[in-house]
């Protein structure tokens, strides 16, 4: 009777998804540092161009699917550029600076979109616990929570309907609407906590708690770093180094904390 709304399931086995998640995270960090270090236009432009070439590898072929995943990002990039254009200190219209800022936002955020679109959360938890010794309680607890997210959407709809059925709605009164939203949000929170504690109990019953004591948790799937993972990181670092070098050589490079 409970039907999950959005099916998260197994993501398609896309090329980028086969890169070990920790290698992807290292590459993302390198790109983030490179993009944030400077406020010139060239560096983020090169990085974004490189990221765009990876879109097919993350399974993002169709413009519609791409837009669905990136519209908040594009909106915030446009917002940053717009605010900068309006309030730029120099007084004139700082088109280059604004475009650089917008590209910077995209250069930093797009790798995250690629990562989420291509990589199975289970692999991420495996890689983090195996290679970086992240707490298994944290990693697999978070994983279980991710699984419940689509159920929250259904729960939210049910709560809103139940309120209406009980005679509670806001009509055209915006203050009542805010109060109603707050009440429903609280009910959702309560429902989420109750569901979460039931899940925690079920997980504890399967040995996922501290009483197991000395038993070291094993990992059935494992997480292996292959040569392609090392190459991927090397490629990302090379890209960042080259971009920065070209930017410096052309005199465009402009460190973020200088005037």
């Amino acid at each position: 009777m409970t039907t999950a709304g959005t099916v998260t399931g197994t993501p398609p086995a896309v090329w980028l998804g086969r890169i070990n998640p920790v290698a992807q995270i290292v590459a993302i960090l390198a790109i983030t540092v490179t993009a944030l270090a400077t406020i010139d236009l060239l560096t983020p432009a090169v990085l974004v161009a490189a990221e765009l070439t990876l879109l097919p590898a993350a399974g993002l072929f169709q413009p519609r699917a791409l837009l669905a995943k990136t519209w908040p990002l594009l909106l915030s990039a446009a917002g940053v550029a717009w605010v900068n254009l309006l309030f730029s200190a120099s007084g004139g219209w700082d088109w280059t600076g604004s475009a650089a800022l917008a590209l910077r936002v995209i250069a930093v955020a797009l790798p995250g979109v690629l990562f989420v679109a291509s990589t199975d959360p289970v692999r991420v938890a495996d890689a983090l616990t195996v290679h970086w010794k992240v707490s298994t309680r944290f990693a697999y607890g978070a994983l279980a929570a991710i699984r419940l997210a689509p159920l929250l959407v259904l729960e939210w709809q049910a709560i809103r309907r139940a309120r209406r059925a009980r005679g509670v709605d806001a009509g055209r009164n915006p203050i009542a609407a805010i109060r109603l939203f707050g009440g429903a949000a609280f009910a959702l929170l309560v429902a989420a906590i109750r569901r979460g504690s039931r899940l925690a109990l079920a997980m504890d019953a399967r040995g996922f708690d501290a009483t197991a004591g000395s038993t070291e948790r094993t990992n059935a799937r494992g997480s292996v770093l292959r040569s392609r993972d090392h190459l991927y990181v090397a490629g990302a670092v090379l890209l960042c180094a080259t971009t920065t070098a070209v930017s410096v050589a052309t005199g465009l490079w402009h460190p973020v904390f200088s005037s």
Binding site: M1, T2, T3, A4, G5, V7, T8, G9, T10, D120, P121, V122, Y140, L143, A144, R147, L148, P150, L151, E155, A158, I159, R161, A162, R163, R164, A165, R166, G167, V168, D169, G171, G183, A187, V190, A191, R194, R195, R198, L199, L201, A202, M203, D204, A205, R206, G207, F208, T211, A212, T215, E216, R217, T218, N219, A220, R221, G222
Partner: protein
Amino acid sequence: MRVGAGPAAVDVVGFGFRYSGRPEWAVRDMDVRIEPGERILLTGASGSGKSTLLTAMAGLLGPDSGDARGAVRVDGRTAVQARDRIGILFQDPESQLVMSQAGDDVAFGLENRGVPAGEIWPRVRAALDAVGFGYPLDRSTHALSGGEKQRLVLAGAMVAEPGLLLLDEPTSQLDPDGAELVRAAVARILADRGTTLVLIDHEASPWLPLIDRVLEVPFGTTQGPLLPIGSTQGVLHSNGEDPLLRAAGAGYSYRADTAARPALALTDVELTAGQVTAITGPNGSGKSTLGLLLAGLKAPTVGRIVASPKLAGRLGDRPPHRWRARDLVHRIGTVFQNPEHQFLTGRVRDELSLGPLRAGAGDRAAHDRAEELLQRLGLHAYADANPFTLSGGQQRRLSVATSLATRPSVLVLDEPTFGQDPVTWAELVGLLAEARDAGTAVCLISHDARLVDGFADQELRLTSGVDHRQTAGFTGPGAAETPRSSDDQLGRNPTK
């Protein structure tokens, strides 16, 4: 080989438990010995503490959840120490699955217990075979039906080869087919008597062939006497009357990108005052969707929901989904599958007076109505309790009562008897029969064959995946013209 393999013995010695912050004991003075390999059914009224006892046997009642007395021992150790020998299955499969792929989920328990990776997959396959799970290891857990999910959870419990298997209402959230899947899986894994079983299920009879012994958990407090609930106002009941509410070719479809979700084919159905209409059909046929359309909680994508002038009154031709909530609440009442979704206040008493207040009744009238329903439902002792702290059966009765509180002319109920014990079942049917006798048009969405056969005047059986128009058909010969005879088990009382 692990130490202490094979079926486990359970000793409950003078056990009592009181949850933190509650004055009364959930269980007290329990003594029982369960032999290795025995199969036990625990019964008892709603709120008798069956679930508490089972949770204690699972070693999941920690010292921070309340005060315990006596002891529960599994193979001589405390249940908490013996946790690696115990598997438990709860009601809701959604709250028990952890991973997004079936095989990973079964492996989860072995990983936690530190089983070497090389041994895990053969054991996972064996456990899935044992429960008869027929999908590959990488099957998405989201794409399974409720019964299949629960069977997967069972495999996750059995993979650790427990000596004691505890089942806490494992079928109460499943449709009959799903429940049968789970029972068959349990029968398979118990065949070799390698596991002791303790089971709670309100629907006990299908389990009985498996069970060696039935233990009843006694219930301390008694329920108040049943009092009449009062009559619904404004609607007279007569045969051949025009329907109060009808669906005219109403259907619902999701946008193309979510086509996998249930949609409702074009449907005609009429709800008449004093008549009970049952909507039945397999999962995915759109029963709950039709209920939401009739209840004015969702707009049909095709066709119309038409309220009679008598029901709509001054609201005219406007369809129910566009009515204001306070206008809706005393015309069409809805009881949801999950009672907790409906609770809006922190006290049972406030919960019952909320609807009448929203519908514009005065404080005095709302208070009196709440008192009347509290008496009637035997919930007076809980008038100031938080609805969320009630037992499942009490919550269900309260959710029906909150809908009746505004005396709606039409009442739509989604699986009202789901997972209810026989006492609560009978009380619910009593409540609904009184509402019907007082002239309410009752619409039941139900899998409960006993309820539909014994109580409904007409049945609409939805089929899944059809594109022809479906129309309500009357159940018995002549049922359309004549009401069921008064010597019927659930027959009409003389109208008060």
